[in-house]
Every structure is written in C-alpha cells, then in structure tokens.
Symmetry: C2
Subunit: 515 residues, 2 copies
Amino acid sequence: MNGAQAVIRTLVGGGVDVCFANPGTSEMHFVAALDDVPEMRAVLTLFEGVATGAADGYARMTGRPAATLLHLGPGLGNGVANLHNAHRARTPLVNVVGDHALGHKRLDAPLESDIDAIAGAVSGWVRRSLTTASVGEDVADAVAAATRAPGSVATLVLPADVSWSEGAAVAPVRPRRPAPTVAAALVEQVAAVLGEKTVLFLGSDAVSADGLLAAAQVAAGTGARLLATRSPARMARGAGVPDVLKLPYAPPQAMAELEGVQHLILVGTPEPVAFFGYPDLPGRLTPPDCTVHVLSLPEEDGVAALRSLAEQVAPDAVPVVAGATRPELPSGALTPRSLAAVVGALLPERAIVVDEALTSGMHLPAATAGAPRHEWLTLTGGAIGQGMPVATGAAVACPDRPVVSLQADGSAMYTLQALWTQAREQLDVTTVICDNGSYAILEHELENVGARSGGERAGRLLDLGGPSLDFVALATGMGVPATRATTAEELAGQFRAALAEPGPHLIDAVLRSAG
Amino acid sequence: MNGAQAVIRTLVGGGVDVCFANPGTSEMHFVAALDDVPEMRAVLTLFEGVATGAADGYARMTGRPAATLLHLGPGLGNGVANLHNAHRARTPLVNVVGDHALGHKRLDAPLESDIDAIAGAVSGWVRRSLTTASVGEDVADAVAAATRAPGSVATLVLPADVSWSEGAAVAPVRPRRPAPTVAAALVEQVAAVLGEKTVLFLGSDAVSADGLLAAAQVAAGTGARLLATRSPARMARGAGVPDVLKLPYAPPQAMAELEGVQHLILVGTPEPVAFFGYPDLPGRLTPPDCTVHVLSLPEEDGVAALRSLAEQVAPDAVPVVAGATRPELPSGALTPRSLAAVVGALLPERAIVVDEALTSGMHLPAATAGAPRHEWLTLTGGAIGQGMPVATGAAVACPDRPVVSLQADGSAMYTLQALWTQAREQLDVTTVICDNGSYAILEHELENVGARSGGERAGRLLDLGGPSLDFVALATGMGVPATRATTAEELAGQFRAALAEPGPHLIDAVLRSAG
C-alpha cells in the first residue's frame, strides 16, 4: 500500500469520507488512490477557498470533519480565508496540503514556500508527515485532533514522496472523546447570580435546539435574559425553538443591549467584543461594573450545564418558544425588508440557511423566527466569501434538506466558483444574491470610523457599479440556472420555483436601498 | 495630517502612485485619504488575488512598485498565491495590510489572526507600524526595501488607529540604489570557460533586450549556447531580439537540453531544478560532471556583466536575432498549434503578452519569435491564477500598449474577477481562454509521477466538464465583451477585432485536443 492509499483509508476508517479537492502535481497519487477507495467521495472545486469553506459547511451540519486536498503553499493560501472562518467556528476539519517530495525541498523550486507558517495561522494542529511508514498514524492523529471538542482545523502537510512510496499502513483513529462536563460547583455559582439583571450569553452548543430550550427554561424561571453570540457557527431557529436575539454588530447597539447588566454568563462563547476597534468607542462591550462568569467553555458540554442549571433554578418553568407565524408575502419594491419577508413566508421545513447577506440581511431574523424549524449558519470568522462555499458543503452533508444561501453581492464575488461545484454535484442550493451594487457595509463603516466620507474617489472604492455585475450571466456561465427579481412578487415566484425543483438555482435579487 | 494621509503621501513621494485595493473596515481611513491625495490612483479589485497579481504585473512593466491595500489576515491570505508569484519574480511591491487598532488586538475579535506569519511566507521585508508619528518613515522604509535590487515584496501591517490618528508626517524615500556591478575577476573567470560545451543560462535582466543582445554576441563569438530560465518575470521577444529557448518544463526534455554541457554559466538566475520531484528522476537538471559558474546574481547588474564579457571575448561578433517572419494565418480546426499561429500572425507591435496558457501554449514560442518586438510575462512562481491579474496590472502600467492575455481555462477560474477591473478601468486587454475543458497539465502529471491513471474517479478530478464553463457568459457578467471561437478562422477574426477596438475583450477559444 502506498502512502496516499493509507491516507485515504485511514481517513475513511476515522469517519472522514468526503474530500473537497483542488489538487496539483504533488497530489496526483492521492487523486489516483481515490479509485482504490470508493468509500471516499471526492468533490472537485475550482478554487481552494471553495474547498475549505465547503469542508466547514459540511462539518457544521454533520459534526464530522471533511478533508480538503490543497496544493502547496499557494493552494493553502487560497484556502486561508475560509480556514480562518472554520478555525473561528471551531469546526472539525482535516486539511491535507500536498508538498514537494522531501528531497526536492532544498532545491528551492518555484513553488517552494513556508507552508507551516501559513498553516499555523489558521490551524489548531499542524504536522508534516515525514515517512510513508508513519503516514497512517499521522492521519489518525490529525483526525483525532480535528474532532477533539469543540473541533479544530488539523493541517497535515503531505510530501509527494510520502504519498507515492510503498510501505504504508492504515492506522486506527482513536474514538472521539465526549466533551467534558462542567463541574457542579460552577453551575451552583452561576445559579446564585441569576435574575433580571443577568444575561446568559450563548454560543457553540448552547445555540442548538437543546441548548436554547434549556437556556429558555432558565430564563423563564429566573427572569434572566438570553442573548446569542453575533455569529454562531450553527444556530437552531424557527417555530418551537426559543427566538433568541443575536448581539448586534454595531457597538452602540450592542452596548445598549447590555446596558444595566450586572452579571453576564458566558455559555460556550468568549466575552463579547466589538468586531473592529473604533475611535472613541470601547472594544469590550460589557458594562464596566458587570461581572462576567463562565458557565461553559466552547470545548465543554454546555447543553448539559444549562440543563443542570435549569433543574436547579427552574425545574418546572416552561421555555418560551417561537410560534408558527410567518409574514405575509409582500408586494411591490424589493428591499431588504421585503426580501426578508419573502424568505420568512416561504422558507421550507428543515431548511439550512447560510447567511452572508450582511447589511441586506438585517430584517431576516424577525421575518424567519416563526418559519418551520431550520438551521442558521453564519460568518463566524468575519472573512467574507464564506457563504456560497459553506452552502455547498452543507448541501453535500444533507442531501435531503434544502439549502438557502443568502448572499451579499460584494462577498459573492470572492468565491463565486462554488456555483460550479453546486452544478456538478447537483446540490439542492437556492442562492439569493442581495444585489445592492455596493459594498454597503463599508459605506456605513466609513462613517462609523469617523473617516471623512463623501469624497468621490473614496466612494468609487465602495461601489460595485461601472460595470454592474450580471449575476444571472455569471451563474449561467457556471451551469447554475438563474433568474433576476426586481419586485417582491418576482422574488417570491422565483424563490418558490427554485425551492420546488431539485438542484442548484440562483436568484439575483436587485434591491432598492429604501426599506 | 493623519496616519493614512502620511502613508499615501509618502508612497506618492517615493514614486508609488498606483494602489490595487480590496479594502475593509480597518482600511477606511486609507480610502478616505484618497480624496486628499489625488496623485494616488486607486484601482478597485473584487478579490485580493487580483490586487496582488495586478501589482506584480504593473511593476514588471514599469520597474516601479505599486501598492496593494488588503484587509487583515484573511485578505492577505486571499492575496498569498500571487504574492508568492511576485516574491519569486523578485517584483518590487509594497503590500499594505490593514489590521485592528493596537488596543483591539488583545480582544481576539473574530478577524484577529497572525498576519505576520502569513506575510513572512511571501515577503522579503515585513514590518508592523506601531505609531502614527513613525508611520511615514515605516512606509519610506517599505518602499526602499521593495525597490532594492532586484526587487522585493515589502509588507507593511498598518493598524487602524495608526491610520486614523493625527500627528503623522511624510517621510522622504531614499533614492533607489543602482544594482551592484559584478567584479571584473568573475567576468574573467567566466570568459575562460566559454566554448561549445558551455551554456549561458539567462534570467532576470539578462532576458531584457539588452541582456539578450549581449548574451547573443557572446554566443556568436564563442560558440556558447544560450538558454533562458523556464519562467522569466519579463522577457524581450520578437523580431530584432535573439530568440532564446526557454528550458523545458518536463525534466527529461530539460535534461536533454543540458546533456553534454560542461560549464553552465548562471546569469541572474539560480541553477535549474525540476519544477516538481518525480519518482526516479533527479531534481537537479544539470549533468553531474557539469561545472556551475555564477556570472551574476539576480540582484546584480547582469546586463553590464554580459556586455563586459562580450567586449572581452567577442568584441566584433554580431548577435543572431530573430527575423521578422510570421506564420501564415491558419484555417480549420482550432488546436494549440493553430491558436499559436493566429497569435503569431496577428500579434501587434509593442504587445505585452501574459502567458498562463500552460499546456495549450506549447507552440507559442516558435509561432511568435518573429512577431514585432514584444514583452512576454510568465508564471514565475508556479501559483496558477496569475495571468489575468498580471495582465490587468500591465495594462494599468502601459495604457498605450496592447495586452494579450493567453489563459488556460482551469487557471482562469482562480482569479476571473480580474475581468471586472479590466472593464471598470477600460483596460486594453485581449484575453484568449485556451478552453480544453480540463486540467490538462494534471492529466500529464498523473502519468509523469507514475500514479496509476485511467480510473474514472481520478479522471473526474481533472475534468472541467459537467458542467462546461461558459466563458462568454462569465466575461459578459463582469462587463467584458466576449465571443467564442471554434475554428482557426473564427479565432483570427475575433482576435483581430478585439485588438482593433480599445478596452477589454475576451475570446473563448474552444480547443480540440489534437495538434
């Protein structure tokens, strides 16, 4: 057995049976070995940022890592932005980066670069496999590292000759350890400070349906308020699930939400900080006199901690959950508000919503709170160009669930190549481009940071017009059927039609700025 | 003056007056300051790989660095592949990466990452600017580092508050030092070994017109042979310039070219090594008994060294140059051979050819050797997705020269967003997509590395069909007029028309594999 075969067999044995791949010469033995191990599904992407983002989306939905296959330092570089997002989302992911043969390294060939330095910036675990005899064990260690709670990007650098040489062996992957439970004493400490001036700040497993229900039971019994982290990796939403506000993006609004809070209880998430620093605004959003408590760290069992807390303080309380109410189908102008209403009115049962709508998405939470039970995946690490790749991976993970990809136009252009993979794999993804023709978020930010705005040359750097992007042509060019909506009625009709038909679709929703 | 204003004014004062930008929140003061310093031209790109590649292309043509403007670690990551290429091409480039405000760093906000680690992998110089008072001097040092011979990627990490705070000052940039000259004793040593079993291996400035003419004079007078490095950053070609063979990509062919050579003289380039390691092939391509001499390092004045050599050994020799001969316009099937003939027959005067045609480009050198004088820019670092961005930057650098971008289909999909910038800036770029519907180079490599090929699952990872990419739709979607050619006649007609009309055009040249 050669190294590549052992790599793939060890992955499959460890439960990693999907690989999002962008191979080059140094990965050709891995590619050839795919024909020996039919249990591994290889999904080709046209750009590494699609591969890494898809692996993130896949794991968010399955809880199991996918592998990637990338080509040396530049291939890894192209994948960095979405690996950063996965790293921040604590997603389990096995990142395989091919490299030159060991003897070729010192020749400083054109593609030679410091892979380890780049990998270190976006990984929780990095190793270079040095012998074919040990490559199976290296892969087993990578899978174990990726799946240790709460999850980690594990990067294995795989030299070409370690792949192509004979003498490899499959290694068993150690069983995944359950997340550690929180000590009872900590639960008791938190129980003592619950009340109306207390906020439970929820992330990681605390925003799963079970986590939210337990937290809402605590809230119902104690008067404590619930807030969710701004960008959870995966959040349960819809009718029957508590509708929990996410901390707003803009620091003044976030600080307003936290005003008067005396105890902030962190459940699976760090203390809230501003996304960016701004002149004359603090970075920490918690009021100065607020005491911060940690109920659970992201790697601990937050759901169990919340349940234990609920049993102690509110054994008979009934959590408040969202009712099954949807907005009316809107008519007239297509605005962020009417777009949200269309999504809320038509979102199908068990949908996976991938949200990179940014400024155009501000009305989505309210409009979808009473839609049928669904999952919401967000941009945890802030590196744009994540939405369409994550939607791709989520659809590979859950072929029986509809994926709705709500995508800002500027961000869409970072990893648009995801559409081609959606077409090739005939994934059931409905992409709605929130097409406002600008980097609207930066128009706000120009003002927020106190930069003098209004200049023509500055404005030109935030404007996506001249020429306008034709997303219908772009999608069609990659094999995804596409339509354009300019009114709320058109969007509703096209959204309904896209959801009704299997396979990928794209709707270019041309937004007016009002609303 | 705030920090951002000082950054831009110092850049402009140092001769850096074009910036390829992909800004985010932390760069908003830089963006605002553009309205204060009209001498700086800011060019918006939709993806960082376009910005970094365009800066590379710009500098290859002007000899002066452009700046980039990137957004934290993920933005830098998106630019890594083309920074790698620029680093390998020894391109002068000032890479400005915005970061969080200094006080915000320790809050571990979502976009926090190890920018310096990533920057180090693709830069010759890295600094984090720490005070507004010193930011002007930091920028001046960056420009000086970028322009020190032969050229370097200089990365300046620019915290948001260093940009927004007042109290900055413009700093003067030290004048560029001329490249050092080679010691006369070294020229004499090389002169002593010239003869028929000697090869002058040429790169950097030695493949400029002056360098090639001096080298060809040496060759004419001594019988030494000339070979050029495989992927020069910029090479002079066409009628009146010596037509020098580039070392072939495949190791067996490269070794055949070097067989029997007793003295290899390096002029501005390292010793030739295989692009990748292969089982049972050496990485070093030079014959074992060949003595390697270094006439000039890339940072030294290779042209002066070659002229000095020519004066010593061949003062009256006449260099052999390419005559003005073009292929006939071909007819019939569109193949790599007929595509090359069309380009050779119609290439305009003073064209800049950007070559990322890969396997489809094999016939281009012979077909274009006798075309009017032109420049040839190649993929120096091997990270695909460079061609269209480099073409974009070259067109910004030389608005009065036609740019011909010969682009493989698979590689085109990495940085296709370059087309939008070409449309916005109305750049005179004619892109020809060499559309063979596959990663053809990898089909060869699968065989070259000895991987068992022929498997269906492996083959599917090298195939760009299912769905086919429609490059006409993709280009149109970004505002670039596009046509499709399926015969040699159609390509000729469309290529001629595209060259005759200003602004960007794209031709999807659908190739049959034969030829």
